[in-house]
């Protein structure tokens, strides 16, 4: 039996931007399917949301860097007859590191999660999304996919993939009532690691930093209005505009300096972080 309830599926929901998106969707009375690495955080978030917003929340502890778990997730959701009408591909691994210093394990995982899981989940859920009168796909890209930044080679490339993929898919699905949006956030104060890193930037990059709880409401309303590319924050839209105007050598000079300055304030302070490579913008 299929219930008449709709669900918004959010990956990487237990922390950072995913958590803010989950809270915002719940505030809008959407039922949620939350996917994140298994652990207490996801359960606590689910309890918190149900207590505060009286929506239905289902949680799935999955490691989406593992292809098999993407298939499992889809099968379980089909078995439970959960009707997904909004798919938010938010899970991602970020890092800020020279390529030669990046262990292959890290960029392999990054590609599997940011690229493969996003593509695969979209493919698996698309037939179901098409059945609804209106469905939405929101892919989380990054502002850095517009800038060819050192220390962001693989990450930026995976986010460029997401951008390209979203824009093409949007055109394919234009007649299927599935609206595809891609959000390209700049820096946000999400987890310990990223928040510390954000504080090390220069004045201009620091004032462009946003808070996930402020970004999420804007992003969800723009997604629901069917906006194609969502760039949150005036400063970020300004840099995007500058990017189109400035000659290459000036852009490189500016961003070279920016990326050189960008170091965690205190390396020692973050040594307790269980995963220093969690979601970054």
């Amino acid at each position: 039996m299929t219930s008449d309830k709709f669900y918004t599926l959010i990956t990487g929901a237990s922390d950072g931007f995913g958590k803010s998106l989950a809270i915002e969707c719940a505030r809008r009375k959407m039922n949620l399917v939350l996917v994140a690495l298994p652990g207490h955080d996801l359960e606590y978030l689910s309890e918190f949301i149900q207590k505060n917003f009286q929506v239905d929340v289902k949680t799935f502890g999955k490691d989406l860097t593992n292809e098999g778990e993407c298939y499992d997730l889809h099968l379980q959701i089909v078995d439970l007859n959960l009707r997904v009408n909004i798919l938010i591909n938010n899970a991602g691994i970020g890092n800020t590191q020279m390529f030669t210093e990046t262990p292959p394990e890290l960029f392999k995982k990054q590609i599997r999660l940011n690229v493969l899981a996003t593509t695969l989940l979209t493919s698996l859920f698309l037939p179901q999304l098409k059945k609804n009168a209106h469905s939405y796909i929101l892919n989380v890209g990054s502002l850095c996919s517009f800038f060819y930044l050192p220390k962001k080679q693989v990450y930026g490339a995976t986010k460029s993939f997401i951008y390209f993929f979203s824009k093409c898919l949007r055109r394919e699905l234009i007649n299927d009532n599935v609206s595809v949006s891609v959000v390209c956030p700049g820096g946000m104060n999400t987890n310990f690691h990223v928040s510390l890193l954000n504080r090390s930037g220069n004045f201009l990059s620091r004032i462009s930093i946003l808070n996930p709880e402020d970004v999420a409401p804007v992003v969800i309303s723009k997604m629901l209005r069917g906006k194609e590319v969502i760039i949150p924050g005036t400063m970020n839209r300004f840099s995007r505009a500058l990017d189109k105007l400035l000659p290459g050598f000036l852009k490189n000079a500016f961003t070279d300096k920016l990326m050189r300055d960008l170091k965690p304030l205190r390396q020692a302070s973050i040594s307790t972080e269980k995963d220093t490579s969690t979601k970054a913008a």
């Binding site: 505030r27 918190f48 510390l196 709880e213 205190r266």
Partner: protein, 326 residues
């Protein structure tokens, strides 16, 4: 028993040190400037000159102690460079934890803050609830990181317990962490008390004596690796002001809209970049006063036997106490 304490010159730490000394414990207090340590002229309190970032001074002061209260923190809302938040609150905490491990301390209580939770939404927050907002504020970030460190050491075997006091009020040193006392003094003197213009916003007010008792209860009954919110009643600014004005009829308040405070904060930031004069607050630090911060103390009440003094009673006692300084 010998008990090591940090932050004994601060609001909570001072009252806690005096209380411990009064119950016959020998208190080893780590202080940066022994000459300025007020209210600690008690035969049971021994002052050790030191600093959280000097691990040798912590070693000397913690020698022979059985228990540790790590209360000290850089409790400001803004600093430049912001590094000091992490140096004191995170690296300092790591030093205290390391020495506690070395010295086989039997029990450790860390004073965190409800600032680690962020804002509440439709229900009071409790210990397992997730942080609802990002890390815009350096203080919040550093306290979260420190709390995580304490939990890591607890997992490694240290009998560490975390307490999270909410907005603390009541008699005690008029330090930066005790704005309530300053505001009540203003009200008593008939001067205008500034309050955020959002009468329905709810916050949690913890009476300082409850918080001190909560620390002792956490030391006695707290479970390793658990945290306990030490708060009081959840009340709106409107209720708070009504209570204040019923006790101090002459008390006058001025309600400040968020936009004005944000503008002043921005101006102060700008002034800082020009004249290097430190802002008293910045836009990123005032949000907490305009959003709900309601907390539930049920866990501390059921597991620690924590008790809450009704707000009216706590206010009455505080104001009676303050009148002697008029």
């Amino acid at each position: 028993m010998k008990i090591f304490i940090t932050g004994a010159t601060g609001y909570i730490g001072n009252l806690l040190a005096v209380k411990l000394a009064g119950s016959g414990h020998s208190v080893h207090a780590l202080v940066r400037k022994p000459s300025t340590a007020e209210n600690m002229d008690h035969s049971n309190i021994r002052l050790f000159k030191g600093d959280l970032n000097d691990i040798h001074s912590i070693r000397r002061a913690m020698d022979d102690c059985e228990q540790v209260f790590h209360v000290a923190a850089f409790a400001r809302l803004w600093a430049h460079p912001s590094d000091i938040f992490f140096r004191v609150n995170v690296d300092g905490t790591r030093n205290v934890l390391d020495v506690a491990m070395e010295k086989n301390i039997s029990k450790f209580v860390y004073t965190s803050s409800t600032a680690v939770f962020g804002n509440s939404l439709n229900h009071p927050l409790s210990e397992n609830d997730p942080r609802t907002i990002g890390f815009n504020c350096d203080y919040d970030l550093s306290k979260c990181m420190a709390e995580k460190l304490v939990m890591d050491y607890a997992a490694k075997g240290l009998h560490a317990v975390v307490v999270n006091p909410s907005r603390v009020y009541g008699p005690g040193r008029a330090t930066y962490s005790n704005p309530f006392t300053r505001f009540m003094m203003k009200a008593l003197r008939g001067r205008l008390v500034p309050v955020p213009k959002c009468p329905d916003v709810i916050a949690n007010y913890a009476y300082v004596h409850d918080v001190i008792a909560g620390h002792l209860l956490a030391m006695e009954h707290g479970k390793r690796g658990e945290r306990y919110i030490l708060g009081g009643e959840n009340i709106s600014y409107r209720e708070m002001l009504q209570t204040m004005q019923s006790i101090i009829p002459a008390g006058r308040v001025i309600q400040i809209p968020k936009a004005l405070l944000t503008a002043i904060g921005n101006f102060q930031l700008l002034r800082f970049y020009v004249t290097n004069q430190h802002p008293s607050f910045t836009p990123s630090t005032i949000n907490r006063y305009y959003a709900h911060t309601a907390f539930s103390c049920d866990k501390a009440i059921t597991q620690l036997n924590y008790t809450i003094t009704p707000f009216r009673q706590g206010m009455t006692e505080t104001i009676e106490h303050l009148k002697q300084y008029l």
